[in-house]
């Protein structure tokens, strides 16, 4: 196997950070080698420096896309850490609907805008769809915008297709939910149209401006900022604060913290979970 040198790690980690935000320090040689090994072979590169040069000079950005797909961690599962979904179902959505309903005439469908900022292969988005479907019986009364974004083309493609193999489907879903919201398709399971139709997916690099997405009532940004430097983390949560509705809700990963990252948010506790709101 071709080994990566310390100088190559420096060059590649800067490049990866520029194109994806993912921060790799010098200790991540093994990660570079295991994740880029196949791309190195496919492109016929003789070294990692060669791969860098080829990726930079490739106008189609195919190599860059492959590198992003390879380096991003798609560790996700349905209802990952049940806390946020209980929070969504029992606290956030009921509160939000109450607040919005008092302001909008019954004649119009109530807008609910949710963004899953790093949705990976879609499990988080479909878990949200399932919660919406279970909580709000008549969805025609609501104008739901549920957007999932991720930097990886491969992840977005799978999320859009909504198909999962048996290992993916076994993680986090109860048998009841599986039967209710998925259809078996050979060896895999496909999310039913009624759940799929609620969601939209789009490729997005969180290092880039996000204000083009519009405002959101609820933002899920879980377990992605952990791969960023503190500076990039700060920038990201400031951008999120800008597009979160003034009384909206932010949910981050269960082991993440905004202390020292973004003073515009205030943590609030409900049962065994935390959500964040903008300070008044």
């Amino acid at each position: 196997m071709i080994k990566v040198t310390q100088d190559e790690i420096k060059i590649l980690s800067k490049y990866i950070k520029d194109v994806s935000g993912v921060h790799l320090d010098l200790s991540k040689a093994y990660l570079i080698e295991t994740r880029f090994k196949n791309i190195l072979e496919e492109t016929g590169c003789t070294s990692y420096a060669d791969l860098y040069t080829k990726a930079r000079s490739d106008p189609s950005k195919t190599i860059e896309r492959k590198m992003i797909d390879a380096i991003t961690t798609n560790e996700t599962l349905f209802f990952r850490d049940s806390g946020p979904f209980e929070l969504l179902q029992h606290k956030i959505l009921p509160d939000l609907i109450d607040k919005r309903a008092s302001k909008i005439s019954n004649f119009f469908p109530l807008p609910i805008r949710i963004w899953s900022a790093a949705c990976s292969t879609g499990q988080e988005v479909y878990s949200i769809s399932i919660v919406l479907k279970e909580l709000l019986n008549d969805l025609s009364k609501y104008n739901i915008k549920l957007l999932g974004t991720d930097i990886s083309d491969a992840a977005i493609a799978q999320a859009s297709y909504g198909s999962y193999n048996k290992f993916e489907i076994e993680r986090g879903l109860t048998r009841d939910k599986l039967q209710k919201y998925f259809v078996a398709n050979g060896d895999s399971w496909k999310v039913k149209d009624e759940i799929r139709i609620l969601a939209n997916f789009k490729k997005l690099n969180l290092m880039q401006p996000v204000n083009g997405l519009g405002k959101f009532d609820i933002i899920f940004c879980r377990n992605i900022a952990i791969y960023f430097t503190v500076e990039d983390r700060k920038a990201l949560f400031h951008k999120i604060a800008d597009i979160l509705e003034y009384d909206g809700y932010l949910i981050i990963g269960s082991t993440e913290s905004l202390t020292g990252v973004c003073p515009r948010f205030e943590p609030k506790r409900y049962l065994r979970s935390i959500f964040y709101q903008l300070k008044e």
Partner: protein, 187 residues
């Protein structure tokens, strides 16, 4: 490869006996069935890591039926089919239906052992991934609880400090009184 639970299904007594003897020597736990019907009965009673089944068997149930019955009961069980010479198409059909591999007759025991070693390796990797996931879940849950408590505590303190700053920066009233109020707030 140690301790794999294997079911050998073959109507040919010589192949059955040869496989049972050789695999038992490799520390596998081997059961045998002489046709598909007996195999399905055994599968309904016990979990097997691997079912090694002949494709063509008398008695109305062939290898594909054994494969379907096994997968319906335990999707984790690996099914390896033994096919006659020139029946690659049937083998491919079987693979599409969930068989993990196929072997061509006459059965070469080294090839069988090689396939089983692969199954064993996959099982070990799956267990390792499961263990890691379990460890990660526990760590994440514990860390999450601690971080949440800290996050709430820090936020409370920050709010308190803001209030104290407000009190101390007020221009009117007695300065000692303001300090006194601030100190009481800290306590």
């Amino acid at each position: 490869m140690k301790n794999l639970k294997i079911l050998v299904v073959d109507d040919d007594p010589v192949t059955r006996l040869m496989l049972k003897k050789t695999l038992s020597k490799s520390d596998c736990d081997v059961d045998v069935a002489h046709d598909g019907v007996q195999a399905v009965e055994l599968i309904s009673r016990r979990f097997y890591d691997v079912v090694l089944t002949d494709m063509m068997m008398p008695g109305g149930m062939d290898g594909i039926d054994v494969l379907a019955a096994t997968k319906a009961r335990y999707s984790d069980t690996q099914v390896i089919l033994i096919t006659g010479y020139g029946s690659v198409d049937t083998a491919v059909t079987a693979m599409k239906k969930g068989a993990s591999d196929y072997l061509q007759k006459p059965v070469n025991i080294d090839e069988v052992l090689l396939r089983l070693a692969k199954v064993s390796e996959i099982k070990a990797l799956q267990k390792n991934a499961g263990d890691l996931r379990e460890a990660m879940d526990i760590t994440e849950k514990n860390a999450g609880e601690t971080i949440q408590l800290l996050e709430m505590a820090v936020s409370g303190l920050e709010n308190k400090l803001e209030d104290i700053k407000d009190i101390l920066s007020q221009q009117d009233g007695d300065a000692y009184e303001r300090i006194d109020t601030a100190l009481r707030m800290l306590a």
